[in-house]
Structure formats: structure tokens, C-alpha cells
Amino acid sequence: MFKKSKLRGEFFMQGDIACAEGAVSAGCRFFGGYPITPASEIAERMAYRLPLLNGAFVQFEDEIASMASILGASWTGVKSMTASSGPGISLKAENIGLGMMMEVPCVIVNVQRGGPSTGLPTSWAQADMMQARWGSHGDYGCIALCPKNPQEMFDLTIVAFNYAERYRMPVFVMTDAIVGHMTEKVVVPPVDEIEIIDRRYTDKKPDDYLPYAVGDDLIPDFAKVGDGYRFHSTGLTHDERGYPDMTEHAQLTHAVRIVEKVKKHADDIILLEEKGVEGADVVVVAYGITARTVVPAIEMARKKGIKVGLMRLITAWPFPTKRIRKLAGEIAGFVVPEINLGQMVYEVERCAGGQCKVKSLPHPGGGIHKFETVLSAIEEIAHAK
């Protein structure tokens, strides 16, 4: 077979395509999808790319099936992904929970559009941030990455796969219709320069293997189907053997662990980008496309002599609680612009804990924050000092 099947070099590439190429570079070889604007380009690219790499693309009958399928595929040891937008993610929610419960590595891309319901199919929003965190029922840990441009659609999709494999769970790429449909320069590094993490397989013999036994890192070792382990996995609360265990004890150990494992590794997972935050009076907390659209207002505020910094959440989940809490004790306040009616701002408020002001800058979607709105919010917080 032809070996050279991955890109390398510089490209003028759409965000959705870059996401698919990032997945391919990360080793994704199964994609289960369903058409939905503005995420369809990811499925289309995977339909084109995976057969070239002896991978499988299946366009399913619905979003639910596509989510269930990537769990089944991942149990064979194959890296798998699905992509959708809000309405599709709502349908996937049930099996996202199964993935969390069974601890199945996989990646879910949400190219966010305006909601609720059918909302703004061809326009954007960032209004599914809390859905990513809490969208399936019950408690579980969550990892979500927020690319701000096509380059990061490539890079962070790879990070998402690495996190999914490392922490054995579904991981979200939370982008939006602007970044997904934006075309910009994307640099694809040579294959050997891309860091790829694979799930940790058990070194135990089948007779000694307990599918959900964990050590200090709280992450169980993986065994794949077909290797003679004859293991069981269920969406029910289970014990170390993977067997259903309907007790408070099992809930206290397993259900708590799938939350704790993310908390435990939060410092290794969290990715932040800070510009001018040290010594600032005002810190703008933004993510995804909003971290770009607010830059001119921040620059203008600086010209006016306001000490304002930008903290970009590259990972929205787990939330950088410690960092925000520390900053809150040092600054006059946070400004939190997001293309929703106030979601991540709840987290900022929670972490600030009343130590400083927190100003939400909501936007319902279909547009971006106005320069003056952001500037006057920064000025308001700075002057209130």
C-alpha cells in the first residue's frame, strides 16, 4: 500500500478540513458521522481521507448511531471520532455518557451554531459550552478544547486525541461556525514531529486482568476486543471486573473516579494563553473566535493607559480554577465576552468568589462583539478600581 498518505507543509485550509487532517495525523481511522451544518465538511473530508488510509467512514442513519459507533470502534483499539453541531450533540448526549461510563477514548467535535433548537444553522455561537460539560445525565469529568483558528483546528484535534487516549474518555473539540468555515494558513508538521499518545494497554494476562482496576493515576489499563481478554463493559455502575454493581459502594468508587481522574490530572490537561496578564488591572477571559475578535479593543484600552490582559482558555474544561482564583485576588476585575448569554462567566464568578468584579459580555450569536462594547466594559472595570 501507499505509505505517503499524510499531508505535510503549508496549506490554505478551511477549519473543518484542518480538523479532519488533524484527526488523520493523530491516527484516527474510524469516523461515524451524520450531515449537519456547519460540521459536514469534517465528515466529507473523512469520507475522502479514511479509505486512502485503510480506515472506515460510515455515514449513519442518525447522530445517535454515529456516536454509538465510535465507541464500538474504539474498543477494537482504533482511534475514532464524530463531528456535529448543537442539535446533533443533543442527540449524541446519551452515548457520550456511555463513553464516559465505559471510559472509551474518542473525540467529539462540536462546530457550534446558534441555538436553541434549530437556531442559526449557518451562523455561529459558543452556546454549547455548558452542554459539553453537563450535557449527558449524571456526573462525569469533561475535557474540552477551544481552537481559535484553522491551525488550532489541526493542532488541538491532535491534542484532543492525545487526551482521549491518555485519560481514556471522550474529549470535546468545541469550535464554532466561524472557525470551522474560516480558511487560513495551516502548517502541517512532518509526521515525526507530531506528538502522538496512545492508550495504555494492559500487560496482564487475561486471567489476571481486571478491566476497571486502577492505580494511582485513576486510569484503567485498556484491553481491546479480539485479544482473548473476554472482558465485559457496561453502562451500569460497575466494579473492577466491569460487572454491574448496584451499590452505594460501587457508585462511591467508580462514579466518583470518572470525575476525580480529570480533577487529578487537571494541571497537566489545562492549556492557557496569557498576554499582559501579569500586573494587569483588568483581565479579559475569552476562548475560541472571541479570543481573536476582542483583541483590537484590548489594544485600544492599552493605548489609553489601561493595564488589561487577555487570558485565553485553550481548554475550557477542566476550568482553570486555581489560576482564576489567584488572579481574582490581584486584579480589579474580569471581563468575560462569549457568544452566548453567559456560560463560562459562571465559572469565572465561581472562582473569583467575590474577590473582584466579574463582567459578563453576552452575545446571542450570529454576530461578534462590537469593539466599543468590549472597550467600554474594560474601561468600566478599570475605572471602578
Binding site: F2, A65, A68, T76, E94
Partner: protein, 301 residues
């Protein structure tokens, strides 16, 4: 057309001399550390599990290369008792889960075992599309005409007039004919047996294990606890006997014309056994040339 009244009796354990080291005949293929199971006495599910294991043995399957996927419900618990790679998934989603598994590792014989409510109500869309694609998986649908685990609500298989906890005056919905639906959607293999026909069922399971394409086997199964209690009454054995008496074996029957009523005959048989190109084969052969041509372009990039 050959009609034959079924006279097969269920396997009943003999009264052997007490031994010191008695092993269950399916030891190794059942998770003995999970026994006793949660099913009611008289339930048909035990017979289905027996037939499934017997069928795999007959087929000569490599047990390390068989995956069992179940949905939710009484039948959904089957995966948990069979000592193979096994998955107890979400309600109705066993088929797409299994499709992903099979497409990612074509070496696995992938069997979905689930109930009528799981596969034909909440999961109905997945079933018809998997049959349409002719995905190489086997689906064993245990049909007890009711939702057992949740306490006896109406299923898409509940016969007209039958009582359920959500049809206290009798069911007024037309039921699905499962084999007819599977056949119409394009399944390569379609059979119907009851929990009474353990040997014939095992034979069908063996055929399906070695057959390519989407194979569908319906198993009529007694649910004494909720279906019988709300309707004709009787024990599991009484129900099995009545299934036996009502059974007409007719392999030539048109599966779309044999719905199951409250008391009329139950037509069983191996209705369809055709060779159609599977989803996998279509991927491999149908697009190979185009893919190879495109790969030449990539090689020269």
C-alpha cells in the same frame, strides 16, 4: 410447502448421580462468577443463552473472536453473562455500537442480542439501516411481546387486545412483524424460532455465525412474570407448551405475511438465506479502484 407441527421438547437436565466436581456444561462460556442471574424462573432467556453458546460451538467459532453487544432490558443483560468480549450498551443502540466495532475490526464475529422493545422501538431505525447496508453482524432478537424489565408496558410487538401495564383495557396498536420488517429492509438471513426450539435455534445461530451479511433471528420467548400474568396466565413451561402447540414450521413462508397474533399460529422457520454483497465487501471492492487511483496522486504529492 411443507408444514410440520413442532414436537421438539426443551432440554431438561437429567438427574445424574451426585458428583463431587459438577461443572456446568457451559462452564468457560458463561460468567459463573455472576450466577445466579437476575432472570425470573420460567423466563425463556436462559434457553436462548444456551442455544447461542451451542450455536457458536456448532459453528466452530473462535471464541476469542466473538463480541456480544446488548442494549437495555431483560435481554440486554445477556451480554453480561456470556464469557466473551461483551458490551452492555445504551437503550436501542447496540446495533450502531456493533457496526462500529465490526467496521473497525472485521475479524470479529459480532452478535447483537437484545429485546423486541430495544431493537424495534427505540432502536428500530438502526435495525432497518443495518439490514439495508447488509452490515456483517448477527442480530438475535428475543421477542417476549412486552417490556419486561420496566414492568410490562406495551411493546411494538404486543399483539392487538393483549393487556399491558400501559394498555390496561387491551392493546389498540398494530404490532410489528419482526421477520417481515427485517426481510423487507434487506437482511441476508432471516429466521424465527421460539425458546421451545433450542436445537433449531442453535442451528440457525450456527448458520448465521458463519454467514456473511446481516442475519436476523427472532426468538419468541416466554415472559411469565409480566406478559403471562397480564394475559393468559400460566408458568414459563405453560407458555413454552403453548408456543409449541401454536408453531407451524414452514421454511418457505413469506416472512412479510406471518404476523403473530394473540392466539393464532406462530410460523417458524429459516425463511431467507441469500448471498448479497456485504457492506464491508462493497467498501473493499466497490471503491477500491477509485481509492487506489487517488492514492497514486497522494504518493506523488
Amino acid at each position: 410447502m411443507q408444514n410440520e407441527i413442532c414436537c421438539e421438547s426443551p432440554i431438561i437436565a437429567g438427574t445424574a448421580e451426585p458428583e463431587t466436581n459438577i461443572q456446568h456444561p457451559m462452564e468457560g462460556l458463561l460468567r459463573m462468577d455472576r450466577m445466579p442471574h437476575i432472570w425470573c424462573s420460567g423466563c425463556g432467556l436462559g434457553s436462548v443463552v444456551t442455544a447461542f453458546v451451542e450455536g457458536l460451538k456448532k459453528a466452530g467459532s473462535d471464541f476469542d473472536k466473538v463480541a456480544v453487544v446488548s442494549g437495555i432490558g431483560c435481554t440486554g443483560r445477556v451480554a453480561g453473562y456470556i464469557n466473551l468480549d461483551s458490551f452492555h450498551t445504551t437503550h436501542g443502540r447496540a446495533i450502531p455500537f456493533a457496526t462500529g466495532l465490526k467496521m473497525a475490526n472485521n475479524d470479529m464475529t459480532t452478535v447483537v442480542i437484545s429485546g423486541d422493545g430495544d431493537l424495534f422501538a427505540i432502536g428500530g431505525n438502526h435495525l432497518i439501516h443495518a439490514a439495508r447496508r447488509n452490515v456483517d453482524i448477527n442480530v438475535i432478537c428475543v421477542n417476549n411481546f412486552i417490556y419486561g424489565m420496566t414492568g410490562g408496558q406495551t411493546a411494538p410487538t404486543t399483539p392487538l387486545q393483549a393487556r399491558s401495564s400501559t394498555a390496561p383495557y387491551g392493546n389498540y396498536e398494530q404490532p410489528f412483524n419482526l421477520v417481515g420488517l427485517a426481510a423487507a429492509a434487506g437482511a441476508s438471513y432471516v429466521a424465527r424460532w421460539s425458546a421451545m426450539h433450542v436445537r433449531r435455534l442453535a442451528d440457525s445461530i450456527a448458520v448465521a455465525a458463519n454467514k456473511k451479511g446481516f442475519c436476523f433471528i427472532e426468538v419468541i420467548s416466554p415472559c411469565p412474570t409480566v406478559f403471562a400474568r397480564k394475559n393468559m396466565g400460566g408458568t414459563g413451561l405453560d407458555l413454552l407448551k403453548s408456543f409449541g402447540e401454536r408453531t407451524v414450521i414452514d421454511h418457505d413462508a413469506d416472512p412479510t405475511k406471518i404476523p403473530i397474533g394473540m392466539n393464532d399460529e406462530i410460523v417458524c422457520g429459516n425463511f431467507i438465506n441469500e448471498d448479497r454483497p456485504t457492506y464491508w465487501e462493497n467498501v473493499q471492492t466497490g471503491i477500491r479502484d477509485a481509492v487506489d487511483k487517488e492514492n497514486v496522486y497522494w504518493k506523488n504529492l
